[in-house]
């Protein structure tokens, strides 16, 4: 009944601005990811740098992608490990 009254008054309980914000947030994740095509490349470089501190990885086979669904965007990385580094572990002990 209350919902009915609210709909007559043309007012949603939460207001439509939250819907606007959520839709914008998503669309901008998509937009920003496509605006800079070199983004993934520079991300890859940084990833290699960080991961190399811990393990030896196969740089050539490294694969980083943004997977887009309707309601989410995910960063998916496939990074083949060649060898674990012992030095870092040792340093921690």
């Amino acid at each position: 009944m209350i919902d009915f009254l609210k709909s007559i008054l043309g007012r949603e309980p939460a207001g439509s601005k939250n819907l606007a914000k959520e839709r914008l947030r998503l669309v901008l994740v998509h937009d920003r990811a496509t605006v800079s095509p070199h983004l993934l490349e520079s991300l890859k470089e940084d990833l290699i740098k960080v991961i190399s501190n811990y393990m030896e990885i196969d740089r050539e086979a490294l694969d980083v992608q943004l997977n887009r669904d309707d309601d989410s965007v995910a960063l998916v990385a496939n990074i083949p490990v060649l060898k674990m580094k012992r030095t870092y572990q040792d340093a921690q002990v």
Binding site: R11, A14, G15, K17, N18, A20, K21, L28
Partner: protein, 265 residues
């Protein structure tokens, strides 16, 4: 040395031209020497918003192609001695001017004027590239709508890629009543999403239509709330700290009466 500021938005119809006319007139009213450049070739409008459409002899393309001297094409405003308009060409297309032309033109105007405001066309093609080429600063106009904010975000990215860092945002046509009931994004929502600094907020004001009808920028009307917002923005451009106008303010005696009689919450 003057400051070259481009006023841009990506999306059309959010109020770039109105903003340019009002800020420019506001700066001139403060005593600065100002020139407004309409770069929307083929769809010029800044002339009518300024009420100067009958005075056009030469235009931007005439200048860049050397058909006339720069001084000949500058139209002096009716109201302020220090305010000038360089109109866009109406019969050519956007390819008639290039980025190099604009850079040269802007550096020429910098010597004479305190502020050079460039009214950018909608879109991100050649007209946009021309408009931003000679600019040192950028103002982005948006409205509290998903489409306008999205385009503003795209424009911010393009400006940064073109070395126009830290553009500032004008939120146009905000409606305090809708914000209050949660049906319109508020100032913080938009600043949060776009992650840029605020230049000003202009409330939705039907007087803007009246002022455009007359060809007299609202910034000169002391009763217009949008005009007040534009006066504040003009002062902020000069470096002054001016607080945002109070959007909660209920205007008009009629509203007060209505509230008194319990007709309005």
């Amino acid at each position: 040395m003057g400051e070259v500021i481009v006023i841009t938005s990506g999306k059309g119809g959010v109020g770039k031209t109105t903003t340019t006319a009002n800020i420019g007139t506001g700066l001139a009213a403060l005593g600065y020497k100002v020139v407004l450049i309409d770069t929307d070739i083929g769809l010029r409008n800044l002339d009518v918003v300024m009420g100067l459409e009958n005075r056009i002899v030469y235009d931007l393309v005439d200048v860049t192609q050397g058909h006339c001297r720069l001084k000949q094409a500058l139209i002096k405003d009716k109201r302020f001695d220090g305010l000038f308009l360089l109109p866009a060409a109406q019969t050519k297309d956007k390819t008639a001017v290039n980025a190099e032309d604009m850079k040269k033109l802007c550096s020429e105007l910098e010597k004479e004027f305190d502020y050079i405001l460039i009214d950018c066309p909608a879109g991100i093609e050649q007209g946009f590239k021309n408009a931003i080429a000679g600019a040192q600063k950028a103002i982005i106009v948006t409205t509290p709508e998903v489409s306008a904010v999205r385009d503003a975000d795209r424009i911010i990215g393009l400006l940064e890629a073109n070395n126009l860092k830290s553009p500032r945002l004008i939120i146009n046509r905000i409606r305090p009543d809708m914000v209050k009931r949660g049906d319109m994004m508020n100032i913080d929502d938009m600043l949060d999403i776009l992650a840029i600094d605020l230049m000003g907020v202009v409330p939705d004001d039907e007087y803007i239509v009246v002022s455009t009808n007359k060809g007299e920028p609202a910034v000169l009307d002391m009763n217009s709330r949008a005009g007040q917002a534009y006066r504040n923005i003009a002062r902020r451009i000069t470096g002054e700290e001016v607080p945002l106008i109070n959007l909660e303010y209920e205007d008009g005696l009629l509203n007060k009466l209505k509230r008194l009689l319990g007709l309005k919450g």
